[in-house]
Symmetry: C2
Subunit: 340 residues, 2 copies
């Protein structure tokens, strides 16, 4: 069963008295050969221990050559999220030199995400996974640990011992930087239009805002489903309030652009009457008018770092310690100004 | 070698005198077992014709359960392209109910894309591929045909006999609709800031514009690399021209938003002094101010259609005929108006 002794498709074709193309069709389950011919080919292949090259690699102790990414996001909104696409592109850029492929699958829930990890593990379909949006008491972590499936988490909280390693992005500091910028401009009423409350980064950002109350800053958090429509509606409600904020921070660039438009439709001047900022930056955030102040993260680089960390983790004899991802920096643009 | 007779990891563990976990580690090439133990496990596995379940499926005539998508785009600009991400999300939405995964790999050139198809085919790694950006005399088509790799092309030109089937998107009609809208508003000098000239859709859109010369419309095509910077620079050059256009159409939403900003920076009022439109629509195109007139394609639905077409193609005994994708519709927004 050494690689040198493996039978080839040509061998099987000769033994079964058919063309190599017919063998390929039969072994790959493709139409083009009769049921009898297919049965004969499969029998010959089985008798001679034929293995497709991917299995031969697995038996030789090599890898599937595939990294998995189970995406628990609504498919319809995926395209609008620059963070997600930049991250995937960065992951792929790091995999390409290693001839590794990225396998992604959309999952409707965290339970389906966990089931996907189990299936990938049992079928040897992926060598490791990248995991995003960690939660407090995340049910995925003990499962990944028990499966022994190499994984890298992108998140802000230190990994528990024995759990998959985290590429640290320190959302606490990111949030503090952006809210401190607004406080420094004299804003005393600041709102944060967030995504779903169960994400760790929502909690960390909310905590950073409420931490400013000691400095006399009134913070309000409006959780949404991250959609532009919800962001626009949240801004409308905030502006209708008697004590409306003078600065609003949105979780993503698309939400901020929706908020900007909602302000413009109400003839609220940005930034003279209202400052707007975003936790995610993007190409478009820099192109809209006024351009949007944002925390600029090298999301592409983050994806590449995560992939390289995972490649190291797969090769390592034991779980690796957490690493620190590159820190986002504040990019001040036209959408923020001194409070009136 | 029938599935009922296959040895399991538990069988191998018993025969080798180790734990099932050790067998899993050894067969999957993971650390956690000694070299001797690994060798003994691999020997037992080989003696008893152990096959991982994915190979067992292949021998039984089933599929890899994976669809391939080789992406020949610069990784750094991928995230900004809503078309691409929406398409992938749509593909995945159609694959999910079938428990099929999407495998994507970034390729730096069309030659590497072709090499990827050959590798995927020989390793039985994917059951079929989705192919975008068809070209005239496209070298990928005869290769896919010869490999017998099921494929669906998303494009505007009818497939040649024996070549992979096309999901028709009719860019000729799309281009005519958008240019006719501008002509109907009285524009007589129209520019098209395009992507790379080698794409079929660039040619079809350019031809649609030059076809309007019989109606007294002067058209200009400015090819770019599709980047926002190039789109912005192209608009700057057009406006510096003595006979500058009164309407400019961009290939993508991001290019149009870059052009809009370039106009605003020059204090050119959109749409009263200059109309701007885009061949791609997006969430953000509808949110910027002024919002951008665009051809609205259900790109998500197109991806789902392509995936379903490919699933049918994989199951079919012979190549299927071309299908027609849903037609984009013109969405008139704030960025286009009557020519002055």
């Amino acid at each position: 069963m050494s690689p040198a002794r493996r039978v080839t498709i040509t061998d099987i074709a000769r033994l079964a008295g058919v063309s190599p193309g017919a063998v390929s069709f039969a072994l790959n389950g493709r139409p083009g050969v009769s049921a009898e011919t297919r049965a004969r080919i499969l029998e010959v292949a089985a008798q001679h221990d034929w293995l497709p090259s991917s299995t031969a690699r697995a038996l030789a102790g090599a890898r599937a050559g595939v990294i998995g990414f189970a995406v628990n996001r609504p498919a319809r909104t995926l395209g609008a999220e620059a963070f997600f696409t930049d991250l995937m592109a960065g992951v792929q850029s790091a995999l390409a030199p290693h001839r590794l492929a990225l396998q992604t699958v959309l999952v409707p829930s965290i339970d389906d995400e966990i089931a996907t990890y189990r299936r990938w593990r049992s079928s040897h379909q992926v060598d490791g996974v990248v995991v995003i949006d960690p939660r407090d008491d995340d049910p995925r972590m003990p499962v990944l640990r028990d499966l022994g499936l190499p994984a890298v988490i992108i998140g802000s909280v230190r990994s528990e011992p024995g759990h998959p390693a985290t590429l640290q992005v320190d959302d606490r500091r990111v949030a503090h930087t952006l809210f401190a910028h607004l406080a420094g401009l004299g804003h005393r009423r600041i709102a944060y239009v967030s995504g779903p409350a169960e994400f760790q980064h929502t909690r960390l950002r909310s905590e950073a805002l409420s931490g400013l109350s000691a400095q006399g800053i009134a913070g309000a958090v409006i959780p949404t489903d991250s959609s532009p429509a919800a962001a626009s509606a949240a801004l409308g409600r905030l502006l209708a309030d008697g004590a409306s904020p003078s600065a609003v921070v949105f979780d993503s660039d698309v939400m901020a652009i929706a908020g900007l438009r909602a302000a413009q439709e109400r003839r609220i001047a940005v930034p003279t009457e209202l400052s707007i900022a975003s936790f995610d930056d993007s190409t478009v955030a820099a192109l809209v008018h006024p351009s949007i102040t944002a925390m600029t993260r090298d999301t592409f680089g983050l994806g590449a770092d995560a992939a390289n960390f995972l490649i190291d983790q797969i090769a390592a004899p034991a779980p690796l310690p957490d690493r620190t991802g590159s820190a986002p920096v504040l990019t001040v643009r036209e959408s923020t100004a001194r409070a009136r």
